[in-house]
Amino acid sequence: MKGGGDDAASSAAASASGPPPSLEWRFSQVFGERTAGEEVHEVDIISAIEFDKSGDHLATGDRGGRVVLFERTDTKDNVGSRRDAEQMDYSVRHPEFRYKTEFQSHEPEFDYLKSLEIEEKINKIRWCQPANGALFLLSTNDKTIKYWKVQEKKIKKISEMNIDPSKDPGSSSPLPIIANGVHADKPQDYLSKDFPFPPGGIPSLRLPLVTSLETSLVARCRRVYAHAHDYHINSISNSSDGETFISADDLRVNLWNLEVSNQSFNIVDVKPTNMEDLTEVITSAEFHPIHCNMLAYSSSKGSIRLIDMRQSALCDSHTKLFEEPEAPGSRSFFTEIIASISDIKFSKNGRYILSRDYMTLKLWDINMDSGPVASYQVHEHLRPRLCDLYENDSIFDKFECCLSGDGSRVATGSYSNLFRVFGASQGSTEAATLEASKNPMRRQIQAPARSSRSMTSVARRGSESPGSDANGNAHDFTTKLLHMAWHPTENSIACAAANSLYMYYG
């Protein structure tokens, strides 16, 4: 990307024009809405959401191994004047999507060597560069990454054959083929290189006539990148160079070339020689959006490591380490568990990294490794209940996080199908709690005013207990909103509540 990326650099740090006004979130669409009393099938639960770079397409993956694609409808008719239309009529227009197609990306498998079942659940989806009107994406389950091409294909009908197939019943190929592909029949004279055909050719021969009537969307698996991970893949991420991507599991990060599926390079390996010494695992990894040599990965100990692939082939030593020093005296049994980072995302301009741990969202400036520039309380109200959460394993839930395209807002999910949106611009006090339902503002509680923050002092806000009622126990830990994505160019959020995909705009 040349020159791009500066557009949003200002938003998080600049303060000249003050923070943008808080957004009012409205319901836009829902796909796969549950009717009252309808049971959710495990396979239908959404496990991955991703917008493509242009924001014209959205993909979701589910536990049944399916990938569903949606396409934007509100820009199709007047693509040329989209920007003008938005400026004129900003509040009316918002991204609307429609179902495009779906395909079965992964099937359940069994690893006979390790006696392990491999679930078909889609862990991550990443869009690749489109080409020739076809869409490309990577999808992965625990072990295997696949490269998909989705394309309109003409349905062909063939007429005008030389040989009437109806008069030659039994086989589509009337001549036996021998191993080297040459017809093993007598008249090979005609097929030999030296046979003298008449100079004008043989007029009675004709080419098959192909007529195509309609088109249909076809998804084809172009490549399968398998057998490179001993542990479960938690992330995949494309490089800005357009030819490579990484895949990360608990202990390793591998680098692939999109065109080469039979080899990958191990670039990070945190596996200790003795597995008993294992104290930390990789939880998430992402390429820098602009610099192809930089990537970041997060760990279960709450640290983020920035790696420069220029420095060496094996990047076991990081270039920068981002972690928050532990507050003295606050250590408890849960400290390490809740410090574990479940997701990291680079901002579009590559300047910031957003991380989500169990209790908070943190925004890091990659030029400042002393601490986060901002941190937002998401689950502070759950602190007294960590014991319960540990008992029922909820404490290990992996919530994703996302940034708006301009970097001015951040969002993440919570329990009871709630998600929270915070303003990330300097001076912004925006903090909204929304519910993934047709009435997102139902649970909204006004955030109290908070102290302003500077780049060095960390602001803590949103520490009120959102969503829970006065008794503090309204949280439904079974309905959790883990997966969400922010539209790359507009204030629009897609989030998954079980099997339903909700979209909101602000």
């Binding site: 489109p130 080409a131 040989i163 009337p174 592909g181 008249p187 046979f195 043989i202 800005s240």
Partner: protein, 586 residues
């Protein structure tokens, strides 16, 4: 539905199968496209077949790849060069598919066709095609365009040439790194067709942009451009414009770029000439040899000998040798292995005295390396040192190294050393070999791994070829014959295998007097596997021995075997008997 005359049936089927549902049949038809074209005649090929193929670009990649290849040699089938332009449309659409190998093949074919086209056609149809691709909406088309400029440029008018250069410049600054990579890759090729005035002005500007690209993957391709452009430029321009770039690249932040410099070093040295190599590239190379990244050191170590060939021995000893010494104890085994594979070649460059003084200690330490590949690499190049200082100085260390490799627990290592035994034998001489290595050769015949036993048997044959049958009679044959009585049937079988390999080398007389009696004896073995191997062996002996021996001994033995209770033994015995009869008839 048309009906076709009976004799045309196969060709008709071939044509129909262009659209068969089975990809193998479609592939088969596409690969015989020239036959189809000849059957249709030139005119209908132009008017029907080619347009038909143009519509076909959404087929499977394998079919498209075959099609792209076929079309490259299709000019004769469309009626010669004056009609060559009809081939462009199908190839143009193949240039836009997203599968790289198809695109590359299509570009290849277009270049082939373009270089044969008449100049007027080139301007009328080829250049517009390049322009269309370069302006393509999707990156795939623009990537393909980069590979066509060098063909399009020749024979253009000045106006068009200016336009092409400016389009190429745009491609060098494309938004997509894939396109910039393609532009970097093809820059050297394009530059060769350019007038030298533009070379200095325009191409070098594009080159400068690419060398400063923010994407590592683009910059590292520009390294190859250094070599290509350096050769085209006048020496002083090269020194002024390319040399600084090379020196910068050798200190690039990205190890992949430095790796490319190390890898391309020889070509880069050639481009800048011997003087600059000595003054500027020696320090750069020394830095690469001491690089932090092992991958870079591996590439650099592998170029030591070639680089030193360009220098005089003094410079090599003064600057390069100290690094080589360090590399011989590098922490990475792959670096040591890369060094070991080339370092013997330095002996002839440095001459006898310097080799003994400086290189010999390094050879010896590498021969004791803990990593077998390092030792193997040294041993495999022994002949180069032998010519300079003789083998004696090394043989003391050589023997333990060889023995250790011969007994390595990894069979692939054992296999590798067996391959070098004939070379070792010829370098070390018969005397040394008899003393030390003869026993090893027999030991391999009884290895636990089949591949080693097989290689061991083959080794005996190669030794017999090397030292002659008389020597083999003394040193190899007795041991082999003794093995036929080994209690283990696999070892007996290996003895037979060795016999079958050695017999052609040893000649008829020895075969009849020494081998045949043993083989006949073996035909009475209790293990059927031995017996049918005897049958096979006998069959292989037939052409070596006299007809009388065949009639007297072999036939009888085979007849006995052909009545064996075991079905396999009977089968192979009968096969051998048949070949006797066949030989008799002939």
């Amino acid at each position: 539905m048309a009906m076709v005359d009976e004799p045309l049936y196969p060709i008709a089927v071939l044509i129909d199968e262009l659209k068969n549902d089975d990809i193998q049949l479609r592939l088969n038809s596409i690969r015989r496209l020239s036959t189809i074209a000849r059957a249709l005649g030139e005119e209908r090929t132009r008017k029907e077949l080619i347009p038909f193929l143009s519509e076909n670009s959404d087929d499977d990649d394998e079919v498209l790849l075959a099609m792209a290849g076929e079309l490259g040699v299709f000019i004769p089938f469309v009626g010669g060069v004056e009609h060559a332009h009809v081939l462009l449309p199908p190839l143009e659409s193949l240039c836009t598919v997203e599968e790289t190998c198809v695109r590359e093949k299509a570009v290849d074919s277009l270049c082939k066709i373009g270089s044969e086209m008449r100049e007027s056609d080139l301007v009328d149809s080829f250049v517009p095609l390049v322009k269309r691709l370069a302006a393509g909406e999707w990156f795939a088309a623009r990537v393909s365009a980069c590979g066509l400029f060098h063909v399009a440029y020749q024979g253009c008018t000045d106006v068009l040439k200016t336009e092409l250069r400016s389009i190429y410049n745009q491609l060098c600054q494309d938004d997509m790194p894939m396109v910039r990579r393609a532009a970097a890759t093809n820059l050297g090729k394009f530059a060769t067709t350019l007038e030298s005035s533009y070379l200095n002005a325009e191409i070098m500007t594009m080159f400068d942009d690419l060398t400063k690209d923010e994407q590592d993957s683009v910059r590292l391709l520009a390294v190859e451009g250094c070599a290509a452009l350096g050769k085209l430029l006048e020496p002083q321009d090269c020194v002024a414009r390319v040399l600084p770039v090379i020196v910068n690249f050798s200190q690039d932040k990205s190890w992949r770029v430095r790796y490319m410099v190390a890898n391309q070093l020889y070509e880069l040295c050639e481009a800048v000439g011997p003087d600059c190599t000595k003054t500027d590239l020696v320090p750069a190379y020394v830095r690469l040899l001491q690089d932090n990244e092992a991958e870079v050191r591996i590439a650099a170590a592998g170029k030591v000998t070639k680089f030193c060939q360009l220098l005089n021995p003094e410079l090599s000893i003064q600057h390069i040798l100290p690094c080589v010494k360090d590399l011989s104890s590098d922490s990475s085994q792959h670096v040591r292995s890369a060094l070991a594979s080339v370092i013997m070649g330095m002996a002839p460059i440095l001459g006898k005295d310097s080799t003994i003084e400086h290189l010999l200690p390094i050879f010896l330490s590498l021969l004791k390396d803990e990593f077998p590949d390092v030792r193997l690499n040294i041993i495999s190049k022994l002949d180069q040192v032998n010519q300079v200082i003789g083998i004696d100085r090394l043989s003391q260390s050589l023997l333990p190294a060889i023995v250790e490799l011969a007994e390595d627990r990894h069979w692939r290592v054992r296999l590798a050393i067996i391959e070098y035994v004939p070379l070792l034998a010829s370098q070390l001489g018969i005397g040394f070999f008899d003393d030390k290595l003869g026993a090893l050769c027999m030991q391999w015949l009884q290895d636990k791994v089949y591949s080693i036993r097989e290689a061991g048997a083959n080794n005996l044959k190669r030794l017999a070829e090397e030292f002659g049958s008389e020597w083999a009679m003394q040193h190899l044959v007795p041991q082999v014959l003794e093995m036929v009585n080994n209690p283990h049937y696999l070892h007996r079988m290996m003895a037979l295998r060795a016999i079958s390999l050695m017999a052609p080398v040893m000649g008829s007389e020895i075969t009849c007097s020494k081998f045949l009696p043993v083989v006949v004896e073996a035909s009475k073995d209790i293990v059927p596997n031995i017996k049918f191997n005897v049958a096979k062996l006998m069959q292989s002996l037939i052409p070596i021995v006299d007809q009388s021996v065949v009639d007297k001994t072999i036939r009888q033995c085979l007849v006995d075997l052909s009545e064996d209770p075991d079905v396999d033994v009977r089968y192979f015995a009968n096969q051998a008997l048949q070949s006797i009869n066949g030989a008799a008839v002939a």
